[in-house]
């Protein structure tokens, strides 16, 4: 019970810290001071207090976009184990629900983008659904590898298995899916090299282009849900990474949070040293992720 409460508290409170850490890292790379670490919290709080503007072309779908996205992300967040504790929701087959909840969020986010009738938002939505066609199979390849290692069909045992059942034989497949999952994480959370949240041209964006018309609390919810998605998918990556770290047996509750922050620093580092890929080159990167995960699977069942 206490574990569950801690899980929910972390899931609700920590997410906005991650974009803050990323921004701070990027500022450090660029030799600036950067915004305060807790800036995303202030932003979200400010958004939630405001009124909002809706376009006259929109329907209820426009509001359903952020609402369903946050609900789905929250539910998915309750299914991944943070650290060594069990997830609050765990049952046979929960990983399919986990993956498809993100699909549901994508359905409503992109529909809400099309609801405004703006060309830029349509463009962003088209890119989002296209890239998902490659990142979703990659995710399932990684799940197959984890299912093979753990012999289970539920996220909690599957994500604990790399640490619990670590052996030299599974190291190579794990490294391969780790790379694949990290690329999926970058793509799904709209980071460089797939998407640049800070560019000033709507033409070149994916996620930010889709939410151009959302304002006030709607935009606050979107920011919050995006940060939460980063935490959830980041947890997925970390659970595969943990066996390769020294002292993997002590990585429980608080230390896991440190790892999350370290992952955010890593993402910030990637963002600082790389430029965004050309839009037509992004599929190559995602196909790369798919291949990494696929080879991991083949190594394991050979």
């Amino acid at each position: 019970m206490l574990d569950n409460l801690i899980h929910i508290a972390v899931l609700l409170l920590v997410p906005p810290l991650l974009p803050g850490v990323i921004a701070k890292t990027k500022a450090w790379f660029a030799g600036r001071d950067g915004p305060p670490l807790f800036q995303p919290y202030y932003d979200i709080a400010k958004c939630l207090r405001r009124g909002w503007v809706v376009s006259e072309t929109t329907t209820w779908i426009f509001l359903a976009g952020p609402v369903v996205t946050l609900a789905a992300t929250l539910l998915a967040g309750l299914m991944v184990p943070l650290g060594r504790a069990h997830a609050p929701i765990a049952f046979t087959g929960d990983l399919v629900l986990f993956a498809y909840l993100f699909g549901l969020a994508r359905f409503f986010t992109t529909s809400a983008a099309l609801d405004t009738g703006s060309a830029f938002e349509g463009m962003g939505a088209a890119r989002e659904v296209t890239f998902a066609c490659l990142s979703e199979p990659a995710l399932f390849f990684a799940f197959l590898v984890l299912a093979k290692i753990s012999g289970a069909f539920s996220l909690t045992p599957m994500l604990h298995a790399p640490t619990v059942a670590f052996s030299a034989g599974i190291a190579a497949p794990l490294i391969l899916i780790l790379i694949g999952l990290f690329i999926v994480l970058l793509a799904e959370t709209c980071r460089i090299p797939v998407d640049d949240p800070n560019t000033h041209l709507e033409l070149t964006m994916i996620h930010e282009a889709m939410v151009l018309d959302h304002s006030g609390p709607l935009f606050g919810i979107i920011l919050y849900a995006a940060a939460m998605k980063m935490l959830v998918l980041g947890t997925l990556v970390l659970q595969v990474l943990v066996p390769f770290l020294p002292g993997r047996d002590v990585l429980r509750g608080p230390l896991f949070l440190v790892l999350l922050v370290a992952l955010a620093v890593l993402i910030g580092g990637v963002e600082s040293v790389m430029a965004r890929l050309k839009m037509r080159h992004v599929p190559y990167l995602l196909v790369g992720a798919l291949l990494f995960c696929g080879f991991g699977f083949i190594l394991l069942i050979r």
């Binding site: 789905a72 087959g93 399919v96 009738g117 703006s118 199979p137 299912a147 018309d213």
Partner: protein, 651 residues
């Protein structure tokens, strides 16, 4: 049910009463059948039961029977056509279509009746008669508008394809008779696998044409697009499943085969589901899009069958149960959401008079209820929680993840790769249906046609509401519908392999709870948002278009441009045609761009092959004299040859 439409001819051609009588008769027939199905599901009516009479037809008995498998496939036959008949009252009014309303009623009823007979037939010849009746009734129902060239062409392609399938089935039943000594469809576990394998291939080809599995899907998009919408709904939601039924039944009759049987179905299923949905994204005709999506769904069903078949060969009861239950549930689910979407598309066409998605847009403002229903269908068909499509795909995923646990190398762990194909299909389906929802209902109206849009009348709305209710109900409470499916799986799988209670052990309760939690979370958030909105104020303004002042509806991202990024990814498969005029000079003239995704198999393979054969086959016309005695002479010659051949064989 089968003859319900004939009564329409007792009334004048413009008579609404005649049409109503036909619909009432259809409903009565369906209600009787439906109550039978439900009685058998609840266990009040013990299965199997059979009826066997001698018949004046030589070599054939009038044998019909009902078992758990038939009951599962009968349910959609009794639901969708009856709903469609009521829908048809408003969609195809006798008063506005006096020339063909009666013909449509007759063919539609015959189609439903023939499908019911296909499912319960227990004799090969009776099955073939029902099968052919179904094919022809569907032809006449789909081509009611035969004054249009496009409709005639689609009907012609359908007729050729369905008879190519029937040809394989003739060979199948002939082989069956040869192997078992009778036309009766009774399990023949003693048959050697070497004899059974060619029969399996014949059944797969023959039924594959009807089911619309990928290389044999050529008839499907045209026929579905050009039929009246409630006929499309029945063809897609029920008739394609007759092909699936045929495969399931044939495999149940044949002995346990090799692993490659299941492998073949898995490969065909994966090609159909990924290919079908990729083609769907490239379409701009709303009904062609739905037709291609039917190919995708049939592919998903085939994946489940492949898993079950592999499980049967490898003695894995859990694969059989999960694969077959997933496939059969998807048969029901596809009937529900595809029926809903086709009826919805029909109402759109009825109101706007066009099937082209590029001229629609912003229809949600004029028909919010239609949009709501469409959104339910779209979420369900993308297999997203909390609606019904998710449950059947979840069962399939569970099966594929079981497969990954198999020890050792070899072909068995490869079965789990189907999970990746299914994941890709899911993501593509989201792309496809978001595009459709966005282009048709959301955004700003793209043309004058949209102004005629209105909510459909109650007769058209209620069938959709019932189907949407089914989608939601199955999604939230999947445990309620699993019992008949489990019974069918137990009957289909070998005794001893399928353990009772395997399905009940699955965590459907948790799944329901999670879905309810999702709905509750979303509702709570919406409530909070609504309160904040009232407190802080909501203003309405124009769409933000990045400072550009004169935006028009035509500047929206169109369906083709939305789909183009996905079509580009899959261009090795789709071979899209693009025509554009080149821009020249500093002040180029008006330019245009046109993108089209033709059917690769039909337009680039089958039709050219037919055209080529057109050049050579006329030489055979010398045999066709048009004189009866010449044909009788041919028969005589062939019989003599056969006699001699048979005589030589017996010595």
């Amino acid at each position: 049910m089968g003859v319900s439409g004939v009564t329409g001819y007792l009334f004048p051609s413009r008579s609404a009463i005649g049409q109503r009588v036909v619909a009432v008769l259809m409903t009565c027939g369906s209600a009787v059948g439906l109550s039978g199905c439900l009685l058998s599901f609840t266990g009040r009516w013990a299965l199997p039961c059979a009826l066997d009479h001698a018949w004046s037809l030589p070599g054939c008995r009038f044998a019909v029977g009902l078992d758990a498998l038939s009951a599962v496939f009968l349910l959609p036959v009794f639901v969708l056509p009856a709903l469609g008949a009521w829908y048809g009252l408003a969609y195809w009014r006798a008063a506005s279509h006096p020339a063909n309303a009666r013909r449509l009623g007759a063919a539609y009823g015959a189609l439903a009746g023939a499908m019911a007979l296909v499912v319960i037939a227990r004799d090969g010849v009776l099955f073939l008669i029902a099968w052919e009746a179904m094919a022809l009734a569907a032809y006449f129902a789909a081509t009611v508008e035969d004054d249009s060239k496009e409709v005639r062409r689609a009907g012609w392609i359908y007729l050729v394809a369905t008879h190519a399938g029937t040809l394989c089935l003739l060979a199948f039943f002939a082989g069956w008779r040869h192997a078992t000594g009778s036309f009766m469809l009774e399990a023949a576990p003693g048959m050697p696998v070497a004899t059974a394998a060619p029969l399996f291939v014949l059944a797969l080809c023959g039924f594959g044409f009807k089911a619309g599995l990928m290389p044999a899907h050529v008839w499907l998009p045209g026929a579905h697009a050009n039929a009246p919408s409630h006929v499309s709904a029945v063809m897609s939601g029920v008739m394609l499943k007759m092909g699936i039924y045929g495969i399931v039944r044939a495999v149940a009759l044949l002995p346990v085969g090799d692993v490659w049987w299941g492998g073949a179905l898995l490969v065909i299923g994966a090609i159909s589901c990924v290919g079908g949905i990729a083609f769907a994204i490239g379409q701009r005709d709303i009904k062609r899009l739905l037709a291609y999506s039917s190919i995708e769904n049939v592919g998903i069903i085939a994946l489940g069958l492949g898993l079950a078949l592999t499980g049967r060969a490898a003695d894995r009861g859990d694969w059989v149960v999960l694969g077959l239950c997933g496939a059969l549930l998807h048969v029901w689910n596809h009937g529900l959401f595809k029926g809903l979407l086709f009826l919805n598309a029909g109402a759109l066409i009825h109101a706007t008079g066009t099937r082209d998605m590029e001229v629609m847009g912003g229809l949600a403002k004029r028909a919010p209820r239609m949009m709501m229903l469409f959104a339910v269908g779209a979420v369900a068909i993308c297999a997203l929680p909390p609606f019904n499509g998710f449950v059947s795909e979840w069962l399939l995923y569970a099966g594929f993840f079981c497969a990954v646990g198999v020890k050792g190398a070899g072909e068995l762990p490869a079965v789990s790769l189907a999970a990746v194909a299914l994941a890709m299909t899911g993501a593509l389906a989201v792309a496809c249906f978001v595009n459709m929802l966005g282009r048709v209902y959301l955004g700003a109206p793209r043309s004058e046609t949209c102004r005629h849009m209105h909510e459909p009348e109650a007769l058209m709305l209620w069938p959709m509401v019932l189907l949407a209710g089914g989608c939601v109900g199955v999604g939230f409470f999947p445990a309620a519908v699993m019992m008949p499916l489990e019974a069918a799986a137990a009957q289909w799988g070998r005794a001893g392999v399928v353990l009772p209670g395997m399905v009940r052990a699955l965590p459907f309760g948790r799944l329901s709870t999670a879905c309810c939690a999702l709905a509750a979370l979303a509702a709570a958030l919406a409530f909070l948002l609504n309160r904040t909105g009232r407190a802080c104020g909501v203003r309405v303004g124009p769409t933000w278009d990045c400072g550009y002042a004169r935006t028009t509806a035509r500047m929206q991202y169109s369906a083709s441009s939305f789909g183009d990024s996905v079509v580009g990814l899959a261009s090795f498969l789709l071979w899209p045609r693009r025509c554009r005029t080149a821009l020249r000079g500093l002040f180029p003239r008006a330019s245009s761009f046109k993108g089209l995704v033709p059917d690769t198999i039909l337009d680039r393979l089958v039709l050219p092959a037919f055209r080529a054969s057109d050049r050579f086959l006329p030489r055979l016309r010398v045999m066709q004299q048009g004189r009866t005695h010449v044909y009788v002479f041919y028969i005589l010659v062939i019989m003599i040859v056969l006699l001699l051949w048979g005589g030589a064989g017996s010595h």
